[in-house]
């Protein structure tokens, strides 16, 4: 018997790890991967909710999350490829041409 708090806590922990990666890592590849981790955690939470209510909606939403992850990753990777022409080492902090110049 698994009470719903256990997988929800796992989802939270995964989300926190993803967030940690997003905030701490400078490389754009890792940033993108952290976003994937967070999306995945959200998917887990949907599944948990589906389990909690015995309802197929959770799985349907996971399909949506997968779609979103696929589309987002495709665009993100293309952007990384294009950015590589400008910043050779894929440093996110270097992509700051849009900053406000006082």
């Amino acid at each position: 018997m698994i009470i719903w708090q256990t997988p929800a806590g796992l989802a939270l922990a995964l989300f926190m790890l993803g967030l940690l990666g997003l905030l701490a890592r400078r490389s754009l590849v890792f940033v993108l991967m952290s976003i994937e981790i967070m999306l995945n955690a959200a998917g887990l939470l949907f599944i948990t909710a589906g389990m909690r209510w015995g309802n197929p909606d959770g799985q349907i939403m996971l399909v949506m999350v997968l779609n979103l992850a696929g589309a987002e990753l495709a665009l993100g990777l293309i952007l990384i490829l294009r950015l590589r022409n400008r910043i050779t080492n894929l440093d996110g902090d270097a992509a700051n041409i849009l900053r406000d110049v006082p």
Partner: protein, 162 residues
């Protein structure tokens, strides 16, 4: 079933933590793929076999492989890995840890507030399919539009610059 869940959960946590701390992106991605596969196991233990299959096939099998291909196209070498390692110092984790701890404690409070109910039943793929193609047909349409958008965007951005 419970043991399977806990083993898979520990594996997921471990591999994810490893994934975000590696300096070599290929290693990190491989850890993440393992995390996704064990996530599929978790889904299965939570009574969602369809979702478990999707997770393994689509996420781990297709999306992550795409990721891996692109990273290999970036032709990363020892120098980049070294520089990557140089960026991972202790100080960068401090502020994110604070924020994440704040968020975690808040959400944990929310989760603990609800009653503790366990799994009610296994939701079969058939049931999901019926819902997906009857009442929730708009979700399918939405997903198709989303993928189309991603396709067009990727195509547009991926063209050779003139």
């Amino acid at each position: 079933m419970m043991i399977t869940f806990y083993v898979a959960a520990s594996l997921t946590l471990l591999t994810t933590a490893l994934a975000i701390t590696r300096s070599n992106p290929v290693h990190a991605l491989l850890y993440f793929v393992i995390s996704l596969v064990s996530m599929g196991v978790i889904f299965f233990t939570l009574g969602a076999p369809f979702a478990a299959a999707m997770e393994v096939i689509v996420y781990a099998g297709a999306i992550m492989v795409l990721f891996l291909f692109v990273i290999m196209m970036l032709s990363l070498n020892k120098v980049t890995v070294h520089r990557e390692a140089g960026w991972i110092v202790r100080s960068v984790w401090v502020l994110p840890l604070f924020l994440v701890a704040g968020l975690g404690s808040e959400l944990a409070r929310v989760f603990l507030g609800g009653g503790s109910v366990g799994m009610i039943r296994v939701v079969s793929p058939q049931e999901v399919g019926v819902r997906l193609f009857t009442t929730d047909i708009s979700t399918v349409e939405l997903a198709s539009v989303l993928l189309l958008t991603g396709l067009i965007g990727a195509f547009h951005l991926g063209r050779k610059e003139r």
